[in-house]
């Protein structure tokens, strides 16, 4: 398609479509974060992983990455946000009410489904949290959360996820997680429904503080 023939609006739409996928994970961006100097955007965790791996700056243009963006990062985010993908990710949160993700595997949890059917409610979405270093809880990146939930539904006692380019072990049987290469640095994890989520001090998502719209306090 010739870009000259496009209306500005159309051009913007095309750029947005190209923009949506993170150049590092090739998936729709979670917590899109721009490098201040060059403006190239990545998932927050992907960019943090790039920075931690010392790969020589921005993956696109090799410009400098200001490490300050990883210190107590804060974004306007819906703490209960869904995976990007199905509905368009909303920048002004709150507008988007919780959308049902894929139903829980019916073969594995017939009792829960039956119960839910009896209560005339859809199976409730579950959230995975990990313990903050000092206090409170963080919610996992929704994509990682989905992988853990999948493992849980398959009754796997243990699963592995990659966060910031590092392998982490999620011990579902013991409800802890630790970096694969450092079993000592364990933290508790929790699987909660929406109601329990609201009773907990959830600071943010994947290390990014919720500036607003979240449950629990959002201050440091």
């Amino acid at each position: 398609m010739n870009s000259k023939n496009m209306t500005p609006r159309r051009q913007m739409a095309v750029n947005a479509a190209i923009d949506k996928d993170c150049p590092v994970c090739h998936c729709e961006m979670v917590l899109p974060t721009a490098i201040p100097a060059c403006g190239h955007k990545f998932c927050f965790l992907c960019l943090k992983g790039v920075s931690m791996a010392h790969l020589g700056g921005c993956p696109i243009c090799r410009g400098p990455i200001d490490e300050k963006i990883f210190k107590k990062p804060k974004q306007n985010l819906d703490l209960k946000m869904d995976m990007p993908g199905s509905p368009a990710p909303s920048t002004s949160n709150s507008a988007e009410k919780e959308v049902k993700q894929e139903p829980v595997d019916e073969d594995v949890k017939p009792d829960v489904n039956a119960l839910n059917a009896a209560l005339n409610t859809a199976p409730s979405k579950m959230y995975w949290l990990y313990q903050g270093r000092h206090r409170g809880w963080w919610r996992f990146d929704p994509r990682v959360e989905k992988d853990i939930e999948e493992a849980y539904n398959h009754r796997m006692p243990i699963t592995e996820v990659t966060i910031c380019g590092q392998a982490y072990v999620i011990d579902i049987a013991k409800m802890t997680q630790y970096p694969k290469n450092n079993k000592g640095a364990g933290r508790d994890v929790k699987r909660v429904d929406s109601n329990e989520f609201d009773t907990l001090d959830v600071k943010g998502l994947a290390g990014v503080f919720a500036a607003s719209g979240g449950a629990g306090s959002s201050s440091t």
Partner: protein
């Protein structure tokens, strides 16, 4: 401005893939699907049946090079850190080239200090294909080959053609 991301074509949104068994990162699954569905001309890359991080690669010698008519086998491995670390690539077929040594190791900056996670299997293989078209004896890995390439290019090209005929026939 040239950006790598502008060259990423749309991904296949509708292909279902079970990740449970393998725990392969989505990116590797997506790259593999695209390599198989939309291969680069002159290059094939197929994942090993028992290890989805190991690829069997074939590169056809470019027409404009002494490697024309040859088919070169390579192995490509995605380490656990990929894409935070570069793929490991090696020629399995013997080749007379100043930037490829006896063990098939390749001297290519993007496989070493110039790796970026915005690069991918596809772009790496394209770069290797380009290296066959443009040997660079100023940055040699096989020093004897590079020396020959600099002092007597005609002779070097002749040898490269002979090796292609001897070792790189499919």
């Amino acid at each position: 401005m040239f950006t790598l991301s502008a060259h990423f074509p749309p991904v296949f949104a509708h292909v279902h893939f079970c990740r449970m068994a393998s725990q392969l990162p989505r990116r590797i699954i997506k790259e593999t699907q695209r390599l198989l569905a939309d291969p680069v001309p002159g290059i094939s890359a197929n994942p090993d049946e028992s290890n989805a991080r190991y690829f069997h690669v074939m590169i056809a010698g470019p027409d404009d090079s002494p490697f024309a008519g040859g088919v070169f086998k390579l192995e490509l491995f995605l380490p656990e850190e990929y894409p935070m670390a570069a793929p490991k690539v090696r020629f399995m077929t013997k080749i007379y080239h100043p930037n490829i040594d006896k063990l098939g190791r390749i001297c290519l900056d993007i496989l070493k200090d110039k790796w970026s996670p915005a690069l991918q299997i596809r772009t790496v293989l394209l770069s290797i294909q380009a290296l066959l078209s443009a040997p660079n004896p100023e940055d040699p890995l096989a020093t004897d080959v590079a020396e020959q390439w600099k002092t007597n290019e005609a002779e070097a090209i002749k040898t490269a053609k002979q090796w292609t005929l001897s070792y790189a026939q499919a």
